[in-house]
Symmetry: C2
Subunit: 337 residues, 2 copies
């Protein structure tokens, strides 16, 4: 089934079939349109998207790369983006980098080669190869959630510094001597990594309260399983911290699990706060106090930026930034209630 068949049956040219399918670029007389539509239906004709993409040099695809869609936060993010894109008639292809630069670039190349109309990148590492690939293709990219230094493109991120500060202060307000911080795995996380911002926010809050941060920053991968292992060791020691802010909810869930294992009461013996407000945060025991931002709105912003020409704005990195506010969601793991 090709346009030719349709054109023949409708007794028109193939051009007219195109005009009808795309509502343009030239008008078609109502009667002709009807004939074409009828022929399409009769033959069960479906335009070949590949051929359309080839000829029109565009697609209604958006590529999205995330570190690992099995983690709830990324899964929810991807879902939000999918919805926002669907609202604008676009489809999202998502690829998992598995926290590997190499796979990130692999998907980047693959998506770009597929002529996606834009790319939403929830980056992981330093992404230097990704950066060169991006401007080799002169691709339309928006960074979401993380903002690696190597990549200059427009970014949609949350105010992680304030968020962490909020959470830390809140924990401090509960009267704890200090608050430990569970960051990412990197010794010195790159600028643009939300986790480094979390750490920064935590530092500020601690400083303001006049507490030392010395030796109170711990490292764990962002997922609950590894964080659980780390927390097991951390909480079992002699100087167990009275409170912990985590860089992600998933880590916090691991901490909660470790605390239960060790029969440490939360929040009685240990206060915990997370970050991201994943859906599950409401169903942990105790429910997790965490830092939220408007995921829907961020997804929409990212999609809008990538589709409209919001990307090509000039200006410094700071200006090419869409910063969403963080707010504290108080549940019970902090000691409230």
């Amino acid at each position: 089934m090709t346009r030719d068949d349709v054109a023949r049956l409708a007794g028109t040219s193939t051009a007219v079939v195109s005009y009808v399918i795309n509502n343009g670029p030239r008008p078609v007389a109502p009667a002709t349109r009807e004939r074409v539509l009828a022929a399409i239906k009769e033959l069960g004709y479906r335009p070949d998207r590949v051929a359309q993409a080839m000829a029109s040099r565009r697609t209604d695809l958006i590529g999205m790369i995330v570190p690992d869609a099995r983690q709830p936060f990324f899964a929810e993010m991807a879902h939000a983006v999918e919805q926002a894109a669907a609202d604008r008639g676009k489809m999202v292809l998502v690829g998992n980098s598995d926290y590997l630069d190499e796979r990130e670039v692999h998907y980047l190349r693959a998506f770009l080669g597929m002529r996606v109309s834009g790319l939403i990148l929830v980056s992981q590492g330093p992404s230097e190869t990704a950066a060169v690939e991006i401007d080799a293709w002169d691709a339309r990219v928006v960074l979401l959630h993380r903002r690696p230094e190597a990549i200059e493109d427009v970014a949609v991120v949350t105010d992680d510094v304030s968020g962490a500060q909020l959470a830390t202060s809140h924990l401090l307000d509960h009267g704890h001597a200090y608050v430990a911080c569970l960051g990412g795995t990197e010794e010195t996380p790159a600028v643009g990594d939300p986790v480094s911002d979390h750490v920064e926010g935590w530092r500020r809050a601690m400083d303001e309260a006049g507490r030392s941060t010395e030796g109170r920053l711990f490292q764990a991968p962002y997922n609950r399983y590894d964080a659980y292992q780390v927390a097991l060791r951390l909480l079992d020691g002699p100087d167990r911290p009275p409170a912990i802010v985590c860089a992600t909810d998933d880590q916090a869930i691991g901490v909660l699990r470790a605390a239960r294992e060790l029969r440490i009461d939360v929040p009685g013996g240990l206060a915990v706060a997370g970050f991201d407000d994943v859906k599950e945060a409401g169903l942990t025991d105790p429910p997790l106090t965490t830092v939220a931002s408007d995921r829907q709105a961020m997804a929409r912003a990212a999609v809008d930026l990538v589709l409209d020409d919001g990307l090509r704005v000039a200006g410094s990195r700071r200006e090419r930034l869409k910063l969403f506010p963080s707010r504290l969601v108080i549940r019970r793991s902090c000691g409230c209630d």
Copy 2:
């Protein structure tokens, strides 16, 4: 940058460039090949995948449709498929149907229009529209995990009946008077729905042990959040069941959470078993006894079937089935240890 540029720089024809890129279909003299490769590198040429797809009438894409990739089970399944496909040089596009027939068909059409080389369908509802769409396109489809009656294609599924039977018997062996079952939401789940098989397995085990199943089957959506709500009501009643087998681990997690809320000790006051063995099952409190199957192998089988011509086999539905065994993973929620 097109092939023409490469050909010009290398001093060959465009055909030769193709031969080099694809290692065929005709051989190229080593010296020529080198020149072409050098030109490609110098220009930073990347073949246009869309044009390749258009000309060759194939892609290295596999479409996959799942109900909701935010649920751990589907996320893990998708990940396994992604890996299996990557091993064979293919890329997977995944779409979420959100349990809506309409969106399932939407993705089906979209993927088919993109000329994917095959489709792996983790279906949800009855999928009748999906079925007509599939043979309208004469698409290469393999069903994974679920097997709606409307779709005739080859399926890769687990032996859910035995699995549920195993789990139920095990719970019974712990001496409980009976085992309740938490199934899906449908009054009469369609044939091919694993959940209906779970229920069937549960029935058999109960029958064998001479226990009545009357009024002991309950309904809940497959996710932890809704299952939690259902469990809250179920467990709070006067005749709380002594043991429950759930149709999915996610439901079981919801049940565990509800039990904790109600201060019911698991497994002391309530034994629980799940189904699927998602990663998280090892990290619940208590760790979840569940039914596992080899997800890796199933993913590989699905990918192999969809890519090779395993699909076109004749034979009855029963013959067009790849059944993977279920095995019981004993942890602590059942009362062991």
